[in-house]
């Protein structure tokens, strides 16, 4: 029989534009302390730890070696996933499923403010022979995708702008968000063009922060004080990296990742069986593209649904009630962590002013950003 696994504790520093007062160590220590307290455990109770780190964003090579201290993981089983937080979550989930241990911890971190040459670092992630000599900016790569997606789906730039207005407004009532503001549709549509059709306000700003989650097996959950939120399904996928031949019209990586998660969770009709979602919106169009890849809305229907208010906090299917990346910030490998913690808080009824009604099953969907084609999905539920 497949073991059920729950998230029993969460902790975060929240998301801030800069964090000059702390190093990555104290940032993670704060999130870990909160998560362990929330779960009612101590580090000695943990059987395995999974951290999330990418050397180039940390600014350390072999960054994984710097993970144990601030998690209380010295001389404990620990490994690092150089991917997204939800991929780390999948690792911890499998560690518990395998029977290796009953309690596992997942950590993610963003110190984006410490990266002084972000564009150069992202360019360094592209092929040195066929792409780099052309010197395309990463926003240009996103804008090429946006052009193709809008053209093939029939969604509009105005509908993308509506996403920005919604998410940054949602962030105003989220104490963990840093980029909340009240914009008009016109503000967004007339912000300076970065790479047409992307304007400055279509692009999420970065944020620093840390998230730690404690996972436990069903047997163990009974004896812990943390309110369990069950991992019903999890999936991840990477499409070809080739810019020359990847799928530009749809986020096929997320389509595949979500199908894997739906199958595991026994979900046939995501729109009906899931109540709300936190999904990557690093670029405004990404929220629409990801919603369609997830099968929440049919192709070409996401923009209209956003316009009709379906994805508002008060709507039929709230999307990014936290403010998303546009409102909370782009957080590199931590992306999935931001989504997961917001879902857990909603399901527990601890989301404050932005608390949704009838939040029983939520979907977290992350993307690793340009130039990647990696997405991950986690489906979390109260029961």
């Amino acid at each position: 029989m497949v073991k059920r696994v729950a998230i029993v504790g969460v902790g975060t520093t929240g998301f801030r534009a800069t964090t000059p007062d702390v190093s990555y160590r104290e940032l993670t220590y704060e999130a870990a302390t909160k998560a362990y307290l929330n779960a009612g455990i101590e580090p000695k109770d943990v059987g395995a730890f999974v951290s999330t780190a990418e050397d180039f964003t940390e600014g350390y090579s072999i960054a994984d070696e710097y993970s144990p201290d601030q998690l209380g993981a010295v001389l404990k089983p620990i490994h690092t996933v150089p991917g997204d937080f939800i991929q780390s979550l999948a690792n911890a989930y499998m560690i518990i499923q395998s029977g290796f241990c009953d309690i596992a911890v997942v950590q993610g971190l963003s110190k984006a403010s410490n990266m002084l040459t972000k564009s150069d670092m992202i360019t360094f992630a592209t092929c040195p022979f066929t792409w780099r000599p052309l010197k395309e900016s990463h926003h240009a790569i996103a804008a090429m995708e946006m052009n193709r997606f809008l053209q093939s789906s029939g969604n509009t730039r105005e509908q993308c702008a509506k996403v920005v207005v919604k998410n940054r407004r949602n962030a105003l009532n989220n104490p963990r968000a840093v980029h909340g503001t009240n914009l008009s549709l016109d503000d967004v549509l007339h912000s300076e063009i970065v790479s047409h059709p992307l304007g400055r306000l279509d692009i999420a700003q970065y944020a620093d922060g840390a998230v730690v989650c404690v996972l436990a097996s069903e047997e163990k959950v009974q004896s812990l004080k943390g309110e369990p939120i069950w991992i019903k399904g999890i999936g991840w996928a990477t499409e070809t990296s080739a810019l020359e031949s990847r799928t530009w019209d749809e986020a096929v990586y997320l389509k595949v990742a979500s199908q894997m998660a739906y199958k595991m969770a026994g979900i046939r009709s995501p729109r009906k069986e899931i109540d709300f979602a936190e999904i990557n919106d690093e670029y405004s169009y990404k929220e629409l593209q990801h919603l369609e890849a997830l099968g929440i809305f049919a192709k070409g229907e996401s923009g209209k649904s956003v316009e009709a208010g379906l994805t508002e906090i008060t709507g039929e299917f709230p999307v990014n009630a936290s403010g998303g990346n546009l409102g909370c910030g782009a957080t590199l490998e931590l992306d999935g962590g931001h989504k997961v913690i917001e879902i857990v808080l909603q399901l527990r009824g601890q989301a404050g002013t932005n608390q949704l009604k009838n939040a029983r099953t939520g979907l977290a969907a992350s993307w690793r950003g340009v130039p990647t084609t990696t997405g991950a999905v986690a489906i979390l539920a109260k029961e």
Binding site: E26, G59, V74, K111, N114, M115, L116, T117, P128
Partner: protein, 180 residues
Amino acid sequence: MTISNKQMTKEMIEKTVTSLSREDVIGNKVITSKWEPKLQYAWDNGPAIGRYLAELKNGKLIAKKCRKCNRIMIPPRMFCELCWRPTDEWVYVKDSGTVNTFVISHVDWKAGRLDIKGGVRPFTPAVIEIDGASEGMGILHMIDEIDPQKIKIGMKVKAIWKKPAEREGAITDILYFKPR
């Protein structure tokens, strides 16, 4: 079928492999692609390392104590990774100590060979357990003013500092440790 190294004769290599010379590459005789990454960071050092560096500028070494395990830790840290609790008071420690381990290195930090026969002094990095910090708590530094062959584990050493005006709040504000 596998071929052992012995079977892989010089003749076979010549028949199957075309070696590239340095001239082929720098003379553009083969197709190459060049990219110089621009990777710049401004790492936030946090309150523990921040104070540590500031005190180095003052010519002092500072540690932090955990009241639970009673360790006095240097470099200082804001939490005790073993007790999993915030650390307590700041403690000034001495700028002297004992060699825990050391090396006489004939290559520099980029693994480039040093001209030892030509009179270049080998690099002699060491871990120095600091007087006033807990046993096993040391800092990584250099040893100088001694014949490298005479350095010994357990040897007592003392910091030699840069002049106050030249200090910049860096581990290199200590030039090296020498026998005392």
